[in-house]
């Protein structure tokens, strides 16, 4: 079965700083890749997804992620974070239909 690794447990940034959250997965075949966000007190929401085509995908709220197949990575980026981006971010991989695996999550704290 596939596994997902998120390198950073907790990231603290100041507003306007750039963000990159790492995500690596282990699976040799075709994968669908996702980033989910969980704002404080709210439920999980899909931020962006990749399943084919352009490896650079854009999501909501200015987030983007790049799929690098050779590195088995799907890092999340945002050029300038805002205080409202404070949340928990989860990378997920779905290699076989309906077998989604989540990373441990990265807590992002943005200081105003």
């Amino acid at each position: 079965a596939q596994s997902v690794s998120q390198h950073n447990h907790h990231v603290i940034l100041s507003e306007a700083a750039s963000l990159e959250l790492g995500c690596n997965y282990s699976y040799g075949g075709t994968v669908n890749l996702f980033w989910y966000v969980q704002y404080p007190g709210q439920h999980l929401q899909l931020l962006l997804k990749y399943f084919s085509g352009d490896p650079l995908v854009k999501g909501i709220k200015g987030f983007e992620a790049e799929f690098i197949k050779s590195k088995f990575s799907f890092n999340l980026r945002k050029p300038s974070v805002q205080w409202s981006d404070t949340a928990e971010y989860f990378c997920a991989v779905n290699a076989e239909k309906n077998d989604m695996r989540f990373g441990a999550g990265t807590r992002l704290t943005v200081k105003p």
């Binding site: 669908n32 439920h43 929401q45 997804k49 989860f90 779905n94």
Partner: protein, 113 residues
């Protein structure tokens, strides 16, 4: 995307009792999933529920502890049986989307004393 509701949103239960969590979707879906999110941890899949068949459980989860019902295409329940403090967690249901993504309900926060 689907709109998913869960009841109850939170509960505090005594050791040894059972709690049934309901998940309602606003559209018919084939697959429904139940996850557990323990404090400070990621999501762990408990089981997958198809309408009209037995749920498929992941390693480490058994039907006697987490019985699941799926009576129709818009509804499912998860029961946490004979609870202990280790069962304190957030329980989430989700449904599959068009391209293998999943949409999540708001979760049920369970505290077992």
């Amino acid at each position: 995307s689907a709109v998913i509701s869960q009841k109850p949103s939170r509960d505090i239960c005594q050791r040894g009792t059972s709690l049934t969590i309901q998940c309602q979707v606003d559209s018919q879906v084939t697959m429904m999933f139940w996850y557990r999110q323990q404090p400070g941890q990621s999501l762990t899949l408990i089981a997958t529920a198809n309408q009209g068949s037995e749920a498929t459980y992941e390693s480490g989860f058994v039907i006697d502890k987490f019985p699941i019902s799926r009576p129709n295409l818009t509804f499912s329940t998860l029961t946490v049986s004979n609870m202990s403090p280790e069962d304190s967690s957030i329980y989430l249901c989700s449904v599959d989307g068009a391209v293998n993504e999943q949409f999540f309900g708001p979760g049920t926060r369970l505290t077992v004393l």
